[in-house]
């Protein structure tokens, strides 16, 4: 089974994240990292090939720094990596990014059939969660998003997912696309052997021209929304911190009453 895992390079959520004057995420702070939730996607894919056979290719679309994200995937155990790098991609919205990923996956599929595409449940930068289903639509694949449990039995892929008001079991026949939640597994930590081995693994860098993607359909020119304003929220003022000396519960109740919250 051949699996492609899409991974995103995002600003570290523990760092001060910011939007630039153009309303785009500042991605060159140097404290970018592999989107944590994509580790669950990698873990799910690696576990599947270990249980049967096959290989995992890790794929990213992003600036120079995004190479770190695929390297982490290689250290965890992926066989090879593809990094789509092109200045024209900057400023893409989720659909633009999905177009590039779709072209890259078609390119890989032409070389060797891709059975399963795995993504994370969301990028911790924008938290849009639009990409997985949009990508499935572009690739014309059945989508099984938000897997909390994932099994592949022969050519049948089955997913259990927990939604706001219900839980569901979805099933489809391969090839298919799955997005994986952080409930699905506990991602492995790359060990020393994995880190050394990753150095020798191939990373292919591709441009839009290599993939035959029309540059006007991606990047800022292809985006369907335009950021007009972006501002850091002012910190909450009038914050009150009280140490309980026996009457803090009463004071809490008084605060709620004073602020018309009860």
């Amino acid at each position: 089974m051949r699996i492609v895992v899409c991974v995103k390079h995002v600003p570290d959520i523990q760092s001060e994240r910011a939007l630039g004057p153009d309303g785009r995420v500042v991605r060159d702070g140097g404290d970018g990292t592999l989107n944590e939730l994509d580790e669950n996607a990698l873990e799910a894919a690696l576990a599947l090939v270990e249980a049967s056979e096959g290989s995992v290719t890790v794929l990213t679309v992003g600036p120079d720094d995004a190479a770190d994200a695929v390297r982490r995937g290689l250290q965890m155990g992926a066989e090879d990596a593809v990094h789509v790098l092109d200045d024209a991609i900057a400023g893409s919205d989720a659909i633009g990014t999905a177009r590039v990923l779709a072209a890259a996956i078609r390119h890989l599929d032409a070389q060797q059939h891709v059975d399963l595409v795995v993504t994370g449940m969301a990028g911790l930068d924008g938290l849009t969660s639009l990409l997985p289903t949009a990508l499935a639509e572009l690739l014309d694949l059945p989508a099984l998003p938000l897997a909390a449990e994932l099994t592949v039995d022969g050519a049948t892929v089955r997913v259990r997912r927990n939604l706001d008001h219900a839980s569901e079991v979805l099933e489809a026949t391969l090839p298919a696309l799955v997005s994986v939640t952080d409930q699905a597994n506990e991602p492995r930590y790359p060990n020393f052997k994995g880190i050394m081995a990753a150095r020798k693994k191939p990373v292919t860098t591709l441009t839009l021209a290599d993939l035959g993607v029309d540059a006007s359909r991606v990047g800022l020119s292809g985006a369907r929304t335009e950021v007009l304003e972006a501002a850091a929220r002012p910190p909450r003022d009038d914050r009150v911190l009280v140490q309980d000396t026996g009457d803090a519960g009463v004071r809490l109740a008084a605060y709620l009453v004073d602020n018309q919250l009860v």
Partner: protein, 327 residues
């Protein structure tokens, strides 16, 4: 420029409107400029009752479409095809949906199939110089942004508690009709093997509640204090991932980046440290209150009112005092 607005009506298995639908319709009424508000009711085994149609009318719906498909409308590919055909049939320039994971799957498909510009998790929407401009907070609620949708068709997924819902006095009864959809073969490739609706808790729905009381590891598994305060305040009960992972409460109660995103009028965190993953799902709340025994807990950085103390003594005292004040 005014165009009809289409609103996807999320409803329970008992046929009741989900709370945020009233917000969507209130907004749609303002934005449609009298061009018509079309409510789409997916008939997934549940029909809209006469009362609910009247309710939709009072909220501003001019038309109610019973959407009937020859496949399961819970599947995002099926729902997306139904919505695309209804957008076409009604000539709508805007689709409003509640921002839930399921609806986001359908709108991602619509973005591809119709070329619509999409904004998810919006907390406001206005028509400015003929363009829809959506507001949303990003980076765990620490930034606010406004973005214009530049395509002729706009799709916006709105977060709960973004709009003050209101009804129109003496609104005419909406026209009710059936919209039948013949679903393509490709939308049928996923089988919904099982769907189990979670039973209602008797408390307000977590995603849309205006008051939420959250318990973390500090409760040590005893959620009775959390539930009691929620009940005296008329709020919903939420949890951190530690609490759901421990099995102290169902996974659906998890607030945070990988759980439910909430922005209630009042958030109360009990024994919650305020880890960045958790903050991502609640930092946009109106008033934040925290009770934590550690004065250095990060939640105090964002709490309007913080109590450094033991939740097992502070919270029962607060609940008793509120009961006394309420009489």
């Amino acid at each position: 420029m005014t165009a009809p607005v289409l609103v996807l009506v999320d409803h329970t298995v008992d046929g009741a409107l989900r709370a945020p639908v009233a917000e969507l319709l209130t907004l749609a009424r303002d934005l449609s400029g009298g061009a018509g508000v079309h409510a789409a009711w997916p008939v997934d085994g549940v029909e809209p009752s006469a009362e609910v149609v009247a309710e939709l009318g009072a909220l501003g719906a001019t038309h109610v479409h019973r959407v009937v498909a020859d496949a399961d409308l819970h599947l995002s590919a099926v729902l997306a095809e139904a919505l695309a055909s209804l957008l076409d049939a009604t000539g709508s320039g805007l689709l409003l949906v509640v921002s839930s994971f399921e609806n986001k799957e359908a709108v991602a498909r619509l973005a591809v199939s119709t070329g619509a510009g999409v904004v998810t998790d919006a907390d406001g929407l206005a028509l400015v110089d003929g363009r829809y401009v959506a507001r949303k907070t990003v980076f765990a609620g620490t930034w606010t942004t406004a973005c214009a949708i530049t395509t002729p068709l706009a799709v916006v997924a709105l977060k709960s508690n973004s709009v003050q819902p209101s009804t129109v006095e003496g609104a005419p009864a909406p026209q009710i009709g059936e919209h039948a959809v013949a679903v393509s073969d490709k939308a049928r490739r996923v089988t919904l093997v099982e769907r189990v609706e979670r039973p209602a808790s008797g408390r307000p729905d977590l995603g849309s509640a205006s008051i939420v009381v959250v318990g973390g590891r500090g409760t040590e598994g005893d959620f009775s204090v959390v539930e009691d305060l929620a009940d005296v305040l008329g709020g919903a009960v939420g949890a951190t991932r530690v609490a759901t992972d421990e099995g102290w409460i169902g996974h659906d109660a998890q607030i945070g980046q990988t759980g439910v995103t909430i922005a209630p009028r009042l958030y109360v965190g009990l024994g919650v440290s305020g880890a960045v993953h958790h903050r991502g799902g609640m930092q946009a709340s109106g008033t934040i209150i925290a009770v934590n025994s550690d004065p250095d807990a990060p939640i105090f950085e964002i709490a309007d009112f913080g109590v450094v103390g033991d939740l097992f003594t502070v919270v029962p005292q607060a609940a008793a005092e509120i009961r006394r004040l309420k009489g």
